[in-house]
Point group: C2
Chain length 215, copies 2
DNA sequence: TCGCCGCCGAACCGTACCGTACGGTACCAC
DNA sequence: GTGGTACCGTACGGTACGGTTCGGCGGCGA
C-alpha cells in the first residue's frame, strides 16, 4: 500500500471541516462558495485552485469525511461464541450510531439529492468509501464466525445484508426524511441486541440452510 | 369520510403529471417554474395562482402522486396459513417494485434533498401519505394473521418493521444513491419469498416471544 | 533590500431562476 | 355587443450564485 494518503494539506482539511459544518447545519443550500470562504477564512480563489470546482469541493468533503472512517482492524480468529455475538452487537450499535449521526445524515442527503444526475459521482463515492467499508468490516467478521462454526453463513454478503436489514429496518429512510429517533428507537443498544438475536436465529450454527424452513 | 377528494382540477392534475415527469427525468434541478410551464403548456401565472409558490408546487406533486397510491382494501379474515403467507409475499414484491420505481426514487430524492430545512414538510408529506399507508396496509394484514394464529406478533408495528428490514435490507439506500438493481437483486419475486420465509421463522405461530431465543 | 510566491479580501461578470406584470385570446352570461 | 373570467405566452425586475480577476500583504530566499 502507499503512504497514509495525505490527500489534502492540513490547511485544506481545515477548510473542508468548515464546509462540512456548513452542510451539516444548513444542508446543501447553505453550501455556497462564498459561505465556505467566509466560514473558513479563506478566499474563493483558493477554493477554486484547490478543488477546481464546486462539485470538486463536494467530492472533497465526502472524501475528507470518509478518510476519517476507521475500521477497527481487530483479530477475529479464535472467538468464542459469546465473544462473536458481542462483536456483532458492537457492530450493530456502531452502525446505528453512525447512521443516526448528523454528519452521516447530511452527507447522505447531499449525495442522494444529487443522485439524479447521470453517473452520480457523489453517490458512488459514498457507496465505495463509506458503506462498502462498513460492509467489509462486517463481512470479515461474519466469515470468521462461519469458519469457527458460530453461524451457518453460506454467503457472507447475503448474510450481511440480512443483518443490516434486521438492525436498521426502515429507520434510516425515516431519518433521512427528517423524522427524529424517538422512544424505544433511540435505544440503540437494545435494538442492537434484539437484531443480533434475530440474526442468530436465522443463521443457527448447526443448520445448513439460509433461514428457509424445511418443507 | 368526505367525497373522493377532488384536491385538484383535471387540468391541474395534468400539469402536475407533467411536472412529475420532469422531476423523474432530471431531478429537482430540472424542475424550474419555466420548464414546468413549457412542458405543460400552461403559463407561469397559472402555476402561481394554483400552487402559490414553488414549494407549493413541490408539495402538490407529492400529494398528487400519493393520491394515486391505492391500498387493495381486501378482506384479511378467514385466511389459511398458506393464503396468509401468499399475501405477505405479494406485499413484499409490491413493496420492492414500488421502491425501485423511477417515481418513488425521484420523489424520495426530492424530499430527502430538502429534508435539511427545519420542518421538512415534503419529508413529512411523504412519510404520512406514502410510507404510512403502506405500513398500515401491512399492519392490518399482520394483525389479522396474528388473530388467526398464523404468526406470533405481539406488536404489529415491531413486526412490520422487521418484515420491512428483511425485505428491503440496504437496497433502498443503495438505489437512492444511484446504484441500479442488478443480478439476483433484480429478482423481486425470489427476494419476496426468501424474506417472508425468514419473517415466518422469526415469528412462528406457536412461539410466545419476538424472535429472541429463550435463555 | 528586492523580488517572488501564496494567500486573503473584495469587487466584478454572466447566468439562471423565482415571482410578477402585461398583452392577447377563447369562452360564457346577459 | 359587452363585460367578466380564466387562461396562455412572453417579457421584465430583482436576486442569488458560480466562477474570475485584481489589489494588497506577509513570508522567504538571494
Amino acid at each position: 500500500m502507499t503512504a497514509p494518503a495525505p490527500e489534502f494539506t492540513p490547511r485544506q482539511n481545515e477548510v473542508l471541516a468548515s464546509a462540512l459544518r456548513l452542510v451539516v447545519e444548513g444542508g446543501e443550500k447553505a453550501l455556497t462558495t462564498a459561505a465556505v470562504a467566509r466560514a473558513a477564512n479563506c478566499s474563493k480563489e483558493s477554493l477554486y485552485r484547490w478543488f477546481g470546482d464546486r462539485d470538486g469541493l463536494l467530492a472533497a468533503i465526502v472524501a475528507h469525511q470518509a478518510s476519517k472512517v476507521r475500521v477497527p482492524h481487530e483479530n477475529d480468529d479464535q472467538l468464542s461464541a459469546s465473544a462473536f455475538r458481542e462483536r456483532l452487537v458492537t457492530f450493530a450499535e456502531d452502525l446505528l450510531t453512525v447512521l443516526a449521526g448528523d454528519t452521516s445524515l447530511a452527507l447522505n442527503r447531499l449525495a442522494i439529492g444529487q443522485a439524479s444526475r447521470e453517473g452520480s459521482p457523489l453517490g458512488r463515492l459514498l457507496l465505495e468509501r463509506g458503506r462498502l467499508r462498513i460492509a467489509t468490516r462486517a463481512r470479515v467478521l461474519l466469515e470468521a464466525g462461519a469458519a469457527q462454526g458460530h453461524i451457518a453463513a453460506v454467503d457472507a454478503t447475503e448474510a450481511y445484508r440480512t443483518l443490516y436489514g434486521l438492525i436498521v429496518r426502515d429507520a434510516h429512510g425515516r431519518w433521512l426524511l427528517g423524522q427524529e429517533p424517538e422512544g424505544a428507537e433511540a435505544d440503540f443498544a437494545a435494538r442492537a441486541n434484539l437484531s443480533v438475536d434475530q440474526f442468530l436465529t436465522l443463521f443457527p450454527p448447526d443448520a445448513q440452510n439460509t433461514g428457509r424452513p424445511a418443507g
